[in-house]
Structures are given as structure tokens and as C-alpha cells.
């Protein structure tokens, strides 16, 4: 089963194409992670999957229907997106922010309901921001703020959740916290998660499906255990590295080669090359 599918999708802002004729399938109920270098078009692609960017050509299909021809509120009930580094208006409280997640379910007649209240409370509980609910979003630490945004996404209560770099600005502990939270949502509630991550090691740990983007299209996609190789890292990121097994999770782990600092690395690299 596929949650989202693209047909010959071409994306770009001006003359130049950022993504060309892409056919992509996002598997339902799985965690999919986009990886790729800065400016490779990950955010662009994610935004177009969420109808925030109109395709130059081709289409995005959600539940068998072209999203360009589906009412936007209907889509918002099935799919939520957390853009890269969102900014809350000055003075907005966490509770007010999370409540906005219920917008897709409201109309002139249907104002705030019991169900809306429950979804908001639950979203704040799982993300652990309940104690912060009266705080102003702009007064929170980076990690607290990111959780507040994720709580808003969860309040939207959609089967598909898209997140653009949900772990940037977070310390390692909070990165793991957020990713564990998303992984729980995936396992316990069978939600489809699509996200952009910069840390390949964490991507390998949490992803069922990795999509490596380079050169305006997919370089390779599939199970991290089979596709993440030194060759892939070299071609997608232009970085030489060694791939080992993560001692904790057994998933691939990338050890980048560098010129500076420790001599031991350089020795090792020479050995590898020989």
C-alpha cells in the first residue's frame, strides 16, 4: 500500500528545475526519511507532497486522488506538515499554538468541540508540553519549542505526518526524544511518517525506507541496511567515509573521513585506501 505517490513530478521556483520527473512512492504505515546534501531539494519535495508548492509538471496522488483537485481542508485532515524552522507570532502561547492544529475540523457552524479539546490535550501530553501550555512559544528553549510545534501537528490528528528536519537545533538527548516519539506514533498508531534528517546515522536507525536525493531525482531508495554504502555517501554527499554497524542498533553507521584533527583517522584512511 502506498500513502503518497508522485507521477513524473517536476518542481522548481523559477526557470531552473530543482526536481525533475520524479516517480516516488511513500509506503503506508512506515517511516520514510529523505537524505541529501544542502540545497538538493528535500524541503522542496516535502513541501510539494503537502501541496505547499505547486508542481511545474506531474502530480502528487494522495489516497488515489490528485491533491491539486482535492479540497485543501480534506487534505489537512489526512496529512499534516511541519515546515523547516517555523516561526510563531510573537506572544502566542503553547496552548494557542496547539489549538491551531484543529483548524481543519472547524467551520462557521462547527466551532470548538469536545473532540477538538481531547485531541489538543492528548497532543500536549505525548509531547510533554502540558506544563508549558501557558508559556509563550518565543520564550521556550529550542527543544521545548520544537515539541510545541510537533504537538500542533499531532493535534491535527492525521494519518500522514511530514516533518522537515524536526531535530535541528536540538541537543542529542532531545533529538533522540523526538525521534523516539515519532517512532512510537508510527508503531502504536500506525501513522505514516515522512521526514528530512541530516544525521545519516539517526536516519538509518529510525527509517524503514530511505530516499537519497541527488541530481534532481532519487539516487537510490530502500531499506537502510542494504542501500547505505560508502558509494552512496560519496555520490550523494560528496564525502568519503566508512560504513560500520551501529553497536547499539545494528543499523549502518557512517564514519566520515576528514583531513583535520586526529592523526589516527588519517592513518586509518590510508590503510583503507591501500
Amino acid at each position: 500500500m502506498d500513502a503518497i505517490r508522485t507521477n513524473a513530478l517536476t518542481l522548481g521556483y523559477g526557470e531552473e528545475d530543482i526536481i525533475e520527473e520524479l516517480d516516488l512512492v511513500i509506503p503506508k504505515g512506515k517511516i520514510t526519511v529523505f537524505i541529501g546534501g544542502n540545497g538538493s531539494g528535500k524541503s522542496t519535495l516535502l513541501r510539494s507532497l503537502a501541496r505547499l508548492l505547486k508542481p511545474k509538471d506531474g502530480s502528487v496522488v494522495l489516497d488515489g486522488a490528485d491533491i491539486a483537485r482535492t479540497p485543501t481542508k480534506k487534505i489537512a485532515q489526512k496529512l499534516s506538515i511541519l515546515p523547516q524552522s517555523p516561526v510563531a507570532p510573537e506572544g502566542l502561547t503553547v496552548l494557542e499554538l496547539v489549538k491551531q492544529g484543529r483548524y481543519p475540523y472547524q467551520s462557521w457552524l462547527n466551532q470548538w468541540s469536545e473532540k477538538d479539546e481531547k485531541a489538543v490535550q492528548r497532543a500536549m501530553e505525548v509531547t510533554g508540553v502540558k506544563d508549558l501550555s501557558e508559556r509563550k512559544v518565543d520564550s521556550l528553549s529550542g527543544g521545548q519549542r520544537q515539541r510545541a510545534w510537533i504537538a500542533m501537528n499531532l493535534a491535527q490528528d492525521t494519518d500522514i505526518i511530514l516533518l522537515d528536519e524536526p531535530t535541528t537545533y536540538l541537543d542529542l538527548t532531545h533529538q533522540i526524544d523526538i525521534l523516539d516519539l515519532l517512532s512510537d506514533l508510527n508503531e502504536e498508531e500506525n501513522r505514516t511518517i515522512v521526514m528530512v534528517l541530516h544525521d545519516i546515522n539517526l536516519a538509518c536507525r529510525y527509517a524503514d525506507h530511505i530516499v537519497a536525493i541527488s541530481n534532481k531525482n532519487i539516487y537510490q531508495q530502500g531499506d537502510p541496511d542494504t542501500i547505505v554504502t560508502p558509494e552512496l555517501v560519496a555520490n550523494v554527499f560528496g564525502l568519503r567515509c566508512q560504513i560500520m554497524n551501529d553497536p547499539h542498533s545494528g543499523t549502518p553507521m557512517c564514519i566520515p573521513f576528514s583531513r583535520g584533527r586526529r592523526k589516527k583517522d588519517a592513518d586509518h584512511e590510508r590503510k583503507m585506501d591501500a
Binding site: Y13, R47, A50, R51, L52, T72, K73, K74, I75, A76, Q77, S80, I81, P83, P86, V87, A88, P89, E90, G91, L92, E96, L97, Q100, G101, Y103, P104, Q156
Partner: protein, 332 residues
């Protein structure tokens, strides 16, 4: 800040009473002494006395116009600040007032227009044109709409329309007096007829502004977030722009360009009720009306028996405040 909804409703009640109090004060206070009995008499048994004429022809129009214009400009400013996320946005800074003024002056000087209806439509046209130009210029370029680009575009358009207006005036001296009077920006000496002509449009703008608050809250989170939540952002922006044109254009048609209300009042309203536009908009309306009424009453007393133009009064109050906001930073 008032935290509880109950407090906000009470504030709204107190505000409405203040508006009525100052509207009454605007009729009573001034060079000619008037008392409540005279006001009632002027309605019930009009006797053609000096006082009765002043009440009916000067004070009452002036009071009604100040309240309507103050509320309109303040709400237009609040909506502009909300949808652009820009604390400096307002009808005067973004050239909306200047656009409306230019078209009215063009109508007077170049085409000899004198009818109130033509003023109204010219003002709407000029306001709409300014909104469209500033928005397009502000969106131009790679990074899309940014507060700084939009402010620059607004300042440029305001300056352009003002110099065009000056140009029209020097080219065409016969109609200078009428145009100059209209341009001075005042609520005094204006006909009640023009308010009556424009009021239906202002009323539509006021009602629309009260309905649009919730949508502005969503849009204020940014275009991507709002779209992601399923908002038709283009529709909301078009509705907001139409509301701004009706309110600011209507206000300029009645009273000429009056600055500072549109920029200051929304800040005061947010300071009082927070950033929920369902409250910011009605509070802006109330406070805008009160400020312009007070400014107009004050204008009568400063150099009595002469009067200071009310635009000068609002500038007096507005400039220090404006500098305060600008210093706090445009991106906050």
C-alpha cells in the same frame, strides 16, 4: 494584558461607553458653549439659532466622522499588521492613504469632479491600487514576502503618490483650494453627506473585519503553516485586502489622509488583549475611535480660538510611539 475572556468582554463594554462619552463630548466641547439641553432642543425644536446650527451642521457630523474614521483606520492597520506580520504596517506607511488621496486630488484638479460619490470611488480605486502595487513589490525577488521589503515598497509608494499629488496641485491652481482643504486630513468642516454616502461601505468593512479575525490568526503563523492547516490563503488575503480598501479608502474619502492611528492603535490593542485577532480587531476599532475623538477635541483647545489640524494632533501622539516601535526592531 487582559488574560480572561470575561475581562475582555468587560473591556469591550467599557470601551464602547468611552466611545459614546467622547462622541458626546465632541458635540458639547469647543469654542461655542453647548449643553445637553441645547442638543436635545436642536433635534426637537430647531430654532435656527447659532448654537443649533453649530450642533447640527458642525459638531454632530464631526463627532460621527471622527468615530467612524478613527475606527476604520485603526482596524485597517490591525489587519495589515496581522496578515503581513509586520509591526510597521499601516494605511499611511504603506501608501494606501497616499494612493487614495492622489486619486481624489486627480479627480478634483484634472477632471473637475465634485460629487461625493466620485470621491468615494476614486478613494477606493487609489487605495486598491496602492495595496496591489505594494504587495507585488514586496513579494518580488527570491525570498518572497519579507517585512523589510514590504515596508520599503510601502514607503516608496507613499512618497511617489505624495509627490504626484503635489505635482497635480502645482499644475492646476484653480481647484487648489478645494483639494488642499480636502488633503489637510481633518474631521472638521466635512459634510455629513459624505459620511452618509461612504458609511455603507465602511460598515461592510467593519463587519468583514470582525468575521476575519480567526483566519488572520492562522495566516499570521506564516503562509506554509496556514496552507498546511487547510486554509485557502489566497482567498483570505483577497478578503483582507478588500476590507482594508473599504476601510482605509472610505476613511480617506471622508476625512482626507490622517496618519498614525493605523500604526499605533493595533499595538495598544495587542498590548491589552494579546495577539488573538478576534479581540485585537474590535479593540482596535474602539481605541481608534476614542483616539481620533480625543485628538479632535484637543485640536480645538490648543490655540483657541483657532484650531490645529487633527492630523497634526495624531502626529504629535504618534511620532514618539512610532520611534519606540521602530527601535524595538522590525522583525520582532
Amino acid at each position: 494584558m487582559i488574560e480572561k475572556n470575561k475581562g475582555k468582554w468587560i473591556g469591550l463594554g467599557i470601551g464602547s461607553i468611552l466611545v459614546m462619552f467622547f462622541m458626546w463630548g465632541s458635540v458639547i466641547w469647543g469654542l461655542t458653549k453647548i449643553d445637553t439641553q441645547m442638543v436635545i432642543d436642536s433635534f426637537l425644536h430647531f430654532d435656527g439659532s447659532n448654537e443649533h446650527i453649530i450642533i447640527q451642521d458642525t459638531r454632530i457630523p464631526r463627532s460621527l466622522i471622527a468615530a467612524a474614521v478613527g475606527a476604520s483606520l485603526a482596524i485597517a492597520g490591525a489587519i495589515m499588521q496581522g496578515i503581513t506580520n509586520n509591526p510597521l504596517a499601516s494605511p499611511s506607511i504603506f501608501g494606501v492613504n497616499a494612493g487614495a488621496s492622489f486619486f481624489v486630488v486627480l479627480g478634483i484638479t484634472a477632471f473637475g469632479m465634485t460629487s461625493l460619490m466620485s470621491f468615494t470611488w476614486l478613494a477606493f480605486l487609489g487605495a486598491a491600487l496602492a495595496v496591489i502595487i505594494v504587495y507585488s513589490l514586496g513579494t518580488l525577488g527570491k525570498d518572497g514576502l519579507t517585512p523589510i521589503k514590504m515596508t520599503l515598497a510601502g514607503a516608496a509608494i507613499a512618497a511617489l503618490f505624495s509627490s504626484l499629488t503635489q505635482g497635480m496641485l502645482t499644475l492646476n491652481e484653480q481647484s487648489l483650494d478645494q483639494a488642499l482643504f480636502w488633503l489637510a486630513g481633518s474631521v472638521q468642516g466635512r459634510d455629513l453627506d459624505i459620511l452618509v454616502a461612504v458609511f455603507p461601505y465602511i460598515l461592510i468593512g467593519l463587519v468583514a473585519s470582525l468575521l476575519i479575525g480567526k483566519q488572520i490568526n492562522v495566516l499570521a503563523m506564516g503562509e506554509d503553516l496556514a496552507k498546511g492547516l487547510g486554509q485557502k490563503t489566497w482567498l483570505i488575503k483577497v478578503l483582507a485586502a478588500l476590507t482594508i480598501v473599504l476601510l482605509a479608502g472610505g476613511a480617506v474619502a471622508v476625512a482626507g489622509p490622517i496618519g498614525f492611528i493605523g500604526i499605533i492603535i493595533p499595538h495598544v490593542a495587542r498590548w491589552m488583549v494579546g495577539i488573538d485577532y478576534r479581540w485585537v480587531i474590535p479593540y482596535s476599532g474602539m481605541l481608534g475611535a476614542v483616539l481620533l475623538l480625543i485628538a479632535d477635541i484637543g485640536a480645538r483647545y490648543i490655540i483657541m480660538p483657532a484650531e490645529v489640524p487633527v492630523g497634526v494632533m495624531t502626529a504629535f501622539i504618534g511620532v514618539p510611539f512610532f520611534i519606540y516601535i521602530a527601535r524595538r526592531g522590525i522583525n520582532e
